[in-house]
């Protein structure tokens, strides 16, 4: 069998079903073309540019036909797995179904061809859409105002902390520290740092949540805010969130919520009702805009009354007469977070999704997402070790404690899952779990797919005992096998060269 698979390759061959594809640059051949433009229909004038402003030909750029391009990218696509083909249980990433109607609506020419610098009266449809999206997010967050400008979760985090900074500075003291639990996502401390703060890490308790006394001890007049993830990265609800808000507020500090895990409780509870001052939501998670291999996304930020003056400009406002405008007049605003108006066409998709779900559907998201995660938890607990036994919401974090005895580790289990046809869970995150396997199925998975996944996990657990080498050397069936990542970092090759 093996020898059949390893059929002679010609060096140039990239047939169907192949597990490799040349670089587009390696398809290039002089004289080929992949484009055609209408012929220049104005008289060509020579020497429009001084010679030193003009470049020579773009050395080494490709010459390929349209066929070559389509083949190339079609073949590349076949080396990827995707949500449309199966469970993609990356914890913290909320890899849910991406409805195709969202793609269709986003491509409506009136949206797709609108230009970011058009006058307000020319883009009333867009502005109304943004206004409605803000209304929906306000209601979902339970908060009085939302900025749609941030284009990703981390961008939203930065926006949020900059607002906190500005608000505190206006009060006379911007303060020095942001508190962040040790279970937090890496973007939290990074965003805090870019907003001008130092980070103090708080230790989680044995449930994986934050103890009030830990917070109490850490909060003082130098603390600007706590950045906390709800439910946290273990999928566990911070059930003392209201008390935390009180503690912080008492000291004049803010409570920021990383809303990456909103899928766990959308429609079931609202951040605003928990005492949270500011939250971002990753629309590419909870609101189904496609992840696209790593973006685009959107990270709107909801704020409490106190922070409204500081939101980015411009905002979308509605006049009495029902018309809409971009409002640049926020004197205390932190400024703009990006040129133009955010990732508009991601926002279109998210609003389409919200309308498709409606109030009943949004609530059902959380219900079934949590049901699915708990089903996996119930089926895998035992064979896999659950380091934090607190109730799970939308995701469940196991680790490799039961398997390390056989010298099989999380990475091995993840790789072996690929042989069973599944994208692995998020691994080695959160950092407080050694060898974490963080599984988030989302509400999009039918029971059959969950069962298939659990069956695969259980089979692997058995393999760890019976044939650990098989797992340690996995994957065996993927287009490439384990990579030499050290070499990539030690002798970086970051571009093709002739």
């Amino acid at each position: 069998m093996t020898e059949v698979l390893e059929k002679e390759t010609t060096g140039t061959a990239t047939p169907q079903g192949a597990t490799r594809e040349r670089l587009i640059f390696e398809h290039s051949k002089r004289g080929r073309r992949g484009y055609q433009l209408p012929a220049l229909d104005v008289p060509a004038v020579e020497n429009l540019l001084p010679a030193n402003l003009r470049r020579a030909e773009i050395a080494d750029e490709v010459e390929v036909s349209e066929v070559d391009v389509i083949r190339h990218f079609t073949r590349l696509s076949k080396l990827n797995v995707s949500i449309d083909a199966g469970l993609y249980p990356l914890g913290s990433c909320t890899m849910k179904h991406n409805p195709r109607i969202n793609e269709e609506i986003a491509r409506t020419p009136g949206f797709a061809l609108s230009h970011p610098l058009q006058a307000d009266h020319q883009v009333q449809g867009n502005l109304e859409l943004l206004w409605w999206l803000e209304q929906s997010l306000k209601e979902i967050f339970g908060m009085p105002r939302v900025t749609l400008q941030p284009v990703a979760g981390a961008h939203g985090e930065l926006t949020a902390i900059l607002m906190v900074h500005k608000a505190l500075a206006k009060g006379g003291n911007a303060r020095k520290y942001i508190l962040i639990p040790d279970s937090a996502h890496g973007t939290n401390p990074a965003s805090a740092a870019f907003a001008g703060y130092q980070v103090k890490e708080l230790k989680s308790n044995s449930r994986g949540t934050l103890d009030l006394h830990v917070l109490e001890e850490a909060v003082n007049e130098d603390v600007a805010a706590l950045m906390i993830t709800v439910p946290n990265t273990l999928g566990v609800f911070e059930n003392e969130i209201q008390a935390m808000a009180k503690i912080l507020h008492a000291k004049g500090a803010y409570l920021y919520c990383d809303g990456a895990n909103l899928n766990a409780f959308v429609g079931v509870a609202r951040p605003g009702d928990m005492g949270i001052d500011v939250i971002h939501s990753n629309l590419h998670k909870t609101f189904s805009t496609p992840h696209g291999g790593g973006g685009p996304g959107a990270g709107p930020v909801g704020v409490s009354e106190r922070l409204i003056p500081f939101i980015p400009t411009p905002t979308v406002e509605r006049r009495e007469d029902g018309t809409f405008f971009l409002d640049h007049s926020h004197p205390h605003s932190i400024g703009r977070m990006r040129a133009f108006n955010g990732n508009f066409n991601v926002l279109v998709r998210a609003l389409t999704y919200m309308r498709s779900m409606g109030p009943t559907g949004l609530r059902r998201i959380a219900q079934i997402a949590v049901l699915n995660a708990n089903y996996i938890r119930a089926r895998l607990k035992g064979p896999y070790y659950l380091p934090y036994d607190a109730p799970s919401l939308h995701e469940v974090v196991f680790n490799d404690k039961n398997q390390t005895a056989h010298d099989v580790h999380t990475l091995d289990i993840a790789k072996r899952l690929m042989d069973y046809g599944f994208h692995p869970p998020t691994i080695y995150f959160p950092l407080i779990v050694s060898g974490a396997l963080m599984i988030e199925p989302t509400e999009s998975e039918p029971k059959e797919e969950l069962d298939a996944f659990c069956d695969a996990m259980l089979a692997i657990a058995r393999e760890c005992e019976e044939r650990p080498e098989l797992v340690r050397s996995a994957p065996h069936t993927t287009p490439v096998r384990r990579l030499d990542e050290a070499r990539a970092a030690r002798q970086p090759v970051l571009r093709w060269k002739k």
Binding site: R55, D84, L113, P116, A269, G293, G294, V480, A489, R495
Partner: protein, 458 residues
């Protein structure tokens, strides 16, 4: 009042598990209702009502509502547009979007697991290569949010390597929204922004620039700049002891203009939208950053590198991750995580289709067509800036730009961007952008309508 999840009436098309699955699954879990799974949420923060938002809508209802909104926009759908200012309508070959709709690209995520993500990884590696070839620099990243935040990241990068210097010089002719974004980003970091204006031809005031550079860790100059004028990289590059950042908002200009890397710049950042991405009201776009090799370990964002697998087979992987937030956390080179991968892929496909000759031809056509219109308009309007232009230029009439543009709008022309929105004292100026998509007929028509509008105002 709250809907019963087990009632088949409440099934939703996006959520498979339904009336028959839920009881089976609850049995395995060992609880008797879904509500019990939410016991960890304090009951006083639980919502005891449904959210007050519209829906659930069928696709039919969504199409009706959203299309009616879209129809209320006045756009290039039924107007001829001459809008640029950092967002350009170029040819979008049909296969780009259809390839982007392939589930394997659209619905996958960041390629953390290289064995099952070689498609995304290899395409990023190729995209990085295109950036290097086009800018004449050494190392490009996978993507940043957009051009404005790419400039922010460049400022932050140069500050980190800038030997305690705290001043950055930004040309006033850099896209004003980019500069504004930088102001937001650096507001708490003790970085001082100095702006340097332009001379009468629209190019940067070199003397002022030289003066401002003293004590600065970086200068950022846009070319073609926000006035459409092409800067002289060589002249700027001759300024010593400061890192030079080139900002490119019209990416197709790289097809014919001198690449910043070959002309002494250390970093190129910009907006990749012009490479086949719709203007879509400003986003999603794709920011790029390309740096000299020496700066690669300071690069923000994702980098894909080439390596081999255990069988010695060439393969691609995210690399130099120790720069990034998920490893370095508070000390990372950036907080970026989700970026603009799919848009970068679109740009990659565009660049591959166009290739060496297409990119030059796009650039050449933009250059020629803009020159044609500019010459025509020059007969009856003032062209305040005489410097060389690529595909965009400023027009000045004796009347407020908004008024003139309003006249053009009546003729179904989106005639330009009022410069007064960005620079004080320029209320009579507007920016006109031309691309390869404009036909001579449209250019002639524009000239005719503008001439008529001006005479009417007179």
């Amino acid at each position: 009042m709250l809907p019963n999840p087990t009632d088949p009436k409440n099934a939703h098309r996006y959520i498979p598990n339904s009336s028959d699955d839920i009881p089976e699954m609850l049995r395995v879990i060992g609880v008797d209702s879904i509500d019990r799974l939410f016991d960890s949420i304090p009951s006083d923060v639980k919502l005891n009502r449904l959210l007050d938002i519209p829906g659930p809508w069928s696709e039919v209802e969504s199409r009706r509502w959203f299309r009616q909104l879209a129809a209320r926009n006045k756009t290039a759908v039924d107007h001829v547009s001459f809008l640029g200012g950092g967002a350009y309508a170029h040819d979008q070959p049909a296969c780009i979007d259809q390839l982007l709709l392939r589930a394997e690209f659209l619905t996958s995520y960041t390629p953390y697991q290289p064995e099952v993500s070689q498609g995304t990884l290899q395409s990023i590696f190729e995209y990085q290569t295109h950036q290097c070839l086009l800018t004449g620099l050494d190392v490009a990243n996978a993507s940043l949010y957009d051009g404005s935040t790419a400039l922010c990241e460049a400022v932050l990068l140069t500050e980190r390597v800038g030997k305690e210097k705290k001043r950055v010089v930004i040309a006033r002719s850099v896209h004003p929204q980019y500069t504004a974004t930088v102001r937001t980003y650096v507001q708490n970091l003790g970085i001082d922004i100095v702006e340097v204006g332009w001379k009468s031809d629209g190019r940067i005031d070199l003397d002022a620039l030289r003066a401002a550079c003293d004590g600065a860790f970086a200068i950022a100059v846009q070319s073609p700049n926000f006035l459409g004028v092409i800067e002289d990289y060589d002249a700027i590059a001759s300024i010593p002891n400061v890192t030079k950042i080139a900002v490119i908002t019209e990416a197709t200009s790289l097809g014919i203009l001198a690449p910043p890397g070959a002309h002494g710049f250390d970093i190129a950042v910009g907006e990749g939208q012009a490479w086949g991405i719709p203007t879509q009201f400003g986003g999603p776009y794709v920011g790029f950053m390309v740096v000299k090799d020496a700066l690669k370990r300071h690069m923000p964002g994702r980098l894909v590198g080439e390596t081999v697998d255990v069988d010695g087979k060439r393969a691609y992987v995210l690399t130099l991750a120790t720069r990034e937030q998920h490893i370095r956390r508070g000390k990372a080179t950036s907080n970026i995580c989700t970026n603009e991968a799919l848009i970068a892929l679109g740009a990659n496909i565009y660049l591959s289709l166009m290739g060496k000759n297409g990119l030059r031809e796009v650039g050449e056509q933009c250059l020629q067509k803009a020159a044609y219109l500019r010459a025509k308009l020059g007969d009856f309007v003032e062209l305040p800036f005489a410097g060389p232009v690529y595909n965009e230029f400023v027009v000045r009439t004796p009347f407020p730009a908004t008024q003139i543009l309003g006249d053009l709008e009546h003729e179904k022309i989106l005639g330009g961007i009022p410069l007064g929105d960005f620079y004080q004292g320029h209320d009579n100026d507007f920016l006109v952008a031309v691309t390869e998509l404009h036909s001579r007929e449209q250019l002639d028509h524009y000239a005719g309508v503008l001439r008529a509008a001006i005479s009417r105002e007179r």
